[in-house]
Every structure is written in C-alpha cells, then in structure tokens.
C-alpha cells in the first residue's frame, strides 16, 4: 500500500469531515434563513469532499474498508484532521472566522492539487476547486461585513481571530513523506500554500479592519492523532447511530 497517499487522503478527508460536522451542528442556528441554508450547503460540500478523500484512502489501503468504515469506525486517536476543524462552535463570528481560515487554505490547495500526478487526487481537486471558490467568496464576504459592522461584531470577530490563530500553524506542517509527495508533484507544496494563504488572509483582515495576531506559539498534534478534549465528544455523537446499529441500511 502507498502509505504517503493513504495518510494524505486521511488528513484531508478527516479535516473536511470534522469541519462539515461542526457546520452541521449549526443547522437551524443561523442568523437568518438564507445564511442557515448557506452554512449547511457548505457543510454538504465538505462532506462530499470527505467522502472522496476517505474513499481514496480506503481504496489505497486495500483491506476492503469503505469511506463509511473509516468515518464511523475509527476512534479519535486515529483521526488526523487539523485541530482548527474541531474547534467548537461559539458565536456566528467565531464560526465564520474558523471557516474563512480553512477556506483560504482549501481553495489554493485544490487549485494546486488539480495538477497532481496522482489522477485520483487531481480528480477530487478538479471537483473541489469549483465548490471551494463559492466557499471562500462567502466566508471572506462575512469577515469584511462583520469587521466593518458594529463595535460588537468587530470585537467578536477579533476575539475569534485571536483565539483561532494558534491553530493555523498546523495546517502547513508536513513530514518527510509529504515533502517527497510535494517534490514529486503529487501534492502542492506546503511552503507555497502558506505564502498564498497568508497573502489572502492579510488582505481580507486588512479590509475588515482586523489586527493580524503577532506570530505566537502554534498548537500541534492533530496530525499525530493527538486532539483537543472536544473531538471525542463530537465523534461520539457523529458515530452513535452506525455504532449502535452496525449493519443498518437505509
């Protein structure tokens, strides 16, 4: 089995799945109906991406497991999502900030991955890049709108940024295996992604009047399966049904 592809597909699939679930938890809590629909739509797109990446992981693994098996039959220590994705929902500004920090990575990541020498990854990215363009447009619009809104909305947004910034460093971490993939043109380079990401977020924060946090200590661990206390609770809820009724079909 190709371990490098397997691990990369899990990293991407898990990040999409966990963030999708966080957004799904917000269903019916949007500030107004259209926004509620928007967030659940984005959740659905991310779930679709997760399905593609996890299906690829399952195929590469070759043990007869499916994407569903990977999503529902692993424990938290076997999840490799970015820590940012599992941060719990607070207020709307916080949810949008988490989303924007993620979208600003996912869109250029898909753009680069479209050129992958691995045709499965390229296919996933070709699909994903179109959807993620809508996502980044949506979340960056909200960052500017809330930043230029009331004192209250701006304060909540800045608090969210200060709180979540710590979890952004990990999105650009890579190991030797991933360095080789990048060198071989299988995945986009993390260094280049970081440059693009920083440029985008600084531009948008500037327009929104937000202060970019000074470089500080960055949290890490998601990629080794070491998570915050929040992931276990989320997974317990997410996996309840398939664990309680393992072979249920509907």
């Amino acid at each position: 089995m190709d371990n490098a592809i397997y691990n990369y597909a899990l990293r991407m699939g898990d990040t999409c799945l966990i963030l999708s679930h966080r957004l799904a938890e917000r269903c019916s809590n949007g500030p107004f109906l259209e926004e509620d629909i928007a967030m659940t739509n984005i959740s659905l797109d991310l779930l679709g991406g997760a399905d593609l990446f996890l299906s690829l992981a399952a195929e590469v693994e070759g043990e007869g497991r499916s994407a569903d098996d990977l999503a529902y039959r692993r424990n938290e220590r076997q999840y490799y999502n970015h820590l940012l994705a599992e941060r719990p929902n607070k207020n709307f500004a916080h949810v949008m900030m988490r989303q924007f920090l993620h979208d600003a990575l996912l869109h250029p990541l898909y753009t680069g991955l479209k050129l992958s020498k691995n045709e499965h990854l390229a296919g996933i990215a070709e699909k994903g890049v179109k959807e993620s363009a809508y996502h980044i447009r949506h979340s960056s619009m909200w960052i500017v709108r809330l930043g230029k809104g009331t004192d209250d909305s701006k304060e909540k947004l800045q608090d969210a940024l200060d709180d979540l910034w710590t979890y952004t460093g990990e999105m650009f971490e890579y190991n030797d295996e991933e360095a080789t993939l990048a060198k071989d043109g299988v995945i986009p380079s993390f260094e280049e992604l970081k440059t693009t990401w920083l440029k985008t977020v600084k531009e948008v924060f500037n327009e929104a009047g937000l202060e970019v946090p000074k470089d500080k200590w960055m949290a890490t661990g998601g990629r080794q399966g070491v998570h915050s206390e929040f992931l276990g609770h989320m997974i317990a809820e997410m996996q309840y049904l398939p664990r309680a009724y393992p072979d249920a079909k509907w």
């Binding site: 259209e34 926004e35 629909i37 928007a38 739509n41 984005i42 659905l44 797109d45 991310l46 779930l47 679709g48 991406g49 399905d51 593609l52 045709e119 390229a122 296919g123 996933i124 070709e126 699909k127 994903g128 179109k130 959807e131 363009a133 809508y134 447009r137 949506h138």
Partner: protein, 164 residues
C-alpha cells in the same frame, strides 16, 4: 457491431426519460451528467459525473438509472462515477435551460469559468416577469446547485441555477 450500436442508442433513449429527482422537469441527459454508456455481452456500464460532491441526489440518480434499464430488460447494470472532467453547467442542454426557465428557475448564464472570476452574476433574468433588475440574496439555495435571487420589479424571490 451494428446491433451493439443500436442497443447503445436505445440505452441513451431510455436514460433520456429519467427525470432529475430534485428538478423533475430536467432529465439526466439535459443536465449532462451521463457521460458514457458501454456494453459488453449483456453487461451495461453507465458512467456519470457528480454535479456536486456532496449532492444527495447522486445516489438517487444511480438507483433511478438502474431501475429504468432493469425494467426495460437490461438486468446487469453497473454505474461508474467519474470525477474528471468535472461536471460543468456548460454541459446542460439548451433545451434543458429553456425547461428550467419555464419551471421558474433561472438557468445558468455564460460560461462557468467566467463566473468564478467575476464573482456575483449580474442581470440574471427573473423567470416570472423576465426583468433583469434582480439581486443576489444568497450564493446558496435550496439545493447545492442553486443560488437565491430576488426580482426588483415583481419582487418574486427565485432560484438561479448557478454556474460551476
């Protein structure tokens, strides 16, 4: 070989009758999601491409195609999903676009690439009064493929089938 081609044509005709589960005025071929049909011996393989990755209608597409072909005597049907080239609204038939407009959904305008660059699509015609004085309400609508607009003239809110 001639009979094989004839069968493939027949299969295309059959699939043409399968409606989109969410927008029943459109057929799957209007949408352009059926990419290829092949046949070897009695086995039929239909290649489709997803509209949106998480679109829950995809499973229904597969079941509806299989059911349609089964009832016409093709018992061994498999559905293959292909991601590349990615589905684009550019593949929607002109006939499909007209049907959408009549149904009350404004069809995708222009080419998909352009809309990604320019962002919000302007002058989307209102399916009720045909006015182009309309405004985007939300990039996301009742299904993944739609955005929500409102007409400034007749005030009707309506769905726009967005370009991807």
């Amino acid at each position: 070989m001639v009979t094989q081609d004839k069968k493939i044509n027949e299969l295309w005709e059959l699939i043409k009758e399968v409606p989109d589960p969410e927008i029943p005025v459109l057929t799957l071929t209007d949408l352009g999601i059926v990419r290829e049909i092949t046949m070897s011996d009695e086995k039929v393989e239909v290649t489709i491409t997803p509209t949106y990755t998480g679109c829950p209608a995809m499973k229904v597409f597969e079941e509806d195609i299989t059911a349609k072909l089964n009832e016409s005597g093709y018992k061994q049907v498999s559905i293959k999903t292909s991601l590349s080239p990615a589905w684009s609204t550019d593949w929607m038939s002109e006939e499909g676009k007209e049907k959408l407009m009549k149904y009350g959904i404004s069809p995708p305008m222009g080419s998909s690439d352009k809309s990604v660059l320019t962002g919000i699509v302007k002058n989307v015609p209102c399916p009720q009064c045909k006015s182009t004085k309309t405004e985007l309400v939300s990039q996301f609508g009742s299904t993944p493929c739609k955005a929500l607009y409102q007409c400034s003239d007749c005030k009707e809110p309506f769905d726009y089938f967005k370009c991807i």
